[in-house]
């Protein structure tokens, strides 16, 4: 659906044709839910947060001005909803020293994150992703899994593209450091 069509639909919904909102539900509910469930790994919570996202979107529909795509706007609401829900739970994530993260060599990260068919590594990565904080998890989910561009991710997370690049760079280092830390501990 082109942005112009979406803007027309939004205009009509605001004029009272509420039933047209189902078009947006059909189009985006799965992708929004898929992003939320990767940030909040509890099915019930994820479903509830997906509902909250769409209700908030409907309530704030008049504030959508078309300065970004509707999906980006929706993802931003979903991200903020998921982040505020997880903040209430006050989960403590493992802290890594700045030195440990900064001293990771780039080539070693590239080599690790591009390994093919290494089931042991995949399992470690899976565990490591669970140790990342929600913001980092959302960032890599949007960039790698939802395949959003840096500028789209920036728009969703309300950051500058440069900031997103720096954060992605740091998350990769963090993942590497966590994998190595776990390997050292199991030895």
């Amino acid at each position: 659906m082109e942005q112009q069509y979406e803007l027309d639909y939004i205009k009509r919904i605001l004029e009272g044709e509420t039933v047209l909102f189902s078009t947006f539900l059909q189009r985006y509910s799965r992708s929004i839910h898929s992003m939320i469930i990767r940030i909040v790994p509890c099915r019930e919570d994820a479903e509830e947060l997906t509902q909250d996202t769409f209700l908030k979107a409907f309530k704030k529909l008049d504030t959508y001005k078309g300065d970004c795509s509707f999906s980006t706007w929706l993802y931003r609401i979903a991200y903020n909803t998921a982040i505020s829900a997880t903040r209430k739970k006050r989960i403590v994530y493992p802290a890594l020293g700045e030195n440990l993260i900064n001293n990771v060599p780039d080539d070693a990260i590239d080599a690790l994150l591009n390994k093919e068919d290494d089931e042991a590594l995949f399992q470690k990565l899976e565990q490591t992703i669970n140790l990342l904080n929600v913001e980092d998890r959302a960032l890599i989910t949007l960039y790698y899994s939802e395949e959003k561009s840096v500028s789209e991710v920036a728009s969703i997370l309300q950051l500058t593209p440069e900031n997103v690049k720096v954060k992605l760079f740091r998350v990769r280092k963090k993942i590497y450091a966590l994998v190595k830390k776990e390997e050292d501990e199991t030895r």
Binding site: L25, I37, P41, E47, F54, L113, L121, L125, T141, K165
Partner: protein, 128 residues
């Protein structure tokens, strides 16, 4: 940021694969229709809020105008606003046509009632 520059060659395949394999958890059956019901209810609530706000605004403006008018008439134009109550007196002739007035008023009420009844019937059939 050399890593992003050579992104086409280096896709972080392992990370992407793990992220893709994570639980995507399909939405339960009927999610969209349940969601649409909530959206519809919210739309009704929204409309009620707007109506209530409009009604409150009109009431507040009307009250302000009435108070303003009274204030202006009383204190600016010095108009005497005290109402002189004259007792109502009925002549013996007027008593005679009271019955007829009541009969007409009763007929009007009956006709209005029938009208309201048929309107609600029509409304219900349109809704169903």
């Amino acid at each position: 940021m050399h890593w992003l520059k050579k992104k086409k060659m280096k896709q972080d395949n392992a990370l992407k694969k793990v992220l893709d394999a994570r639980d995507k958890g399909d939405l339960p059956y009927g999610f969209e229709s349940r969601m649409m019901n909530k959206v519809m209810l919210e739309a009704i609530r929204k409309r009620k809020r707007i109506n209530f706000f409009a009604f409150s605004l009109v009431s507040a403006v009307s009250l302000f105008l009435i108070v303003g008018t009274v204030f202006l008439l009383k204190y600016y134009f010095q108009v005497d606003l005290t109402l002189s109550e004259k007792p109502i007196k009925f002549s013996p002739e007027s008593y005679a046509i009271f019955g007829f007035y009541f009969y007409i008023a009763f007929l009007v009420l009956i006709l209005l009632g029938i009208d309201a009844f048929f309107r609600s019937l029509k409304h219900k059939s349109e809704e169903s």
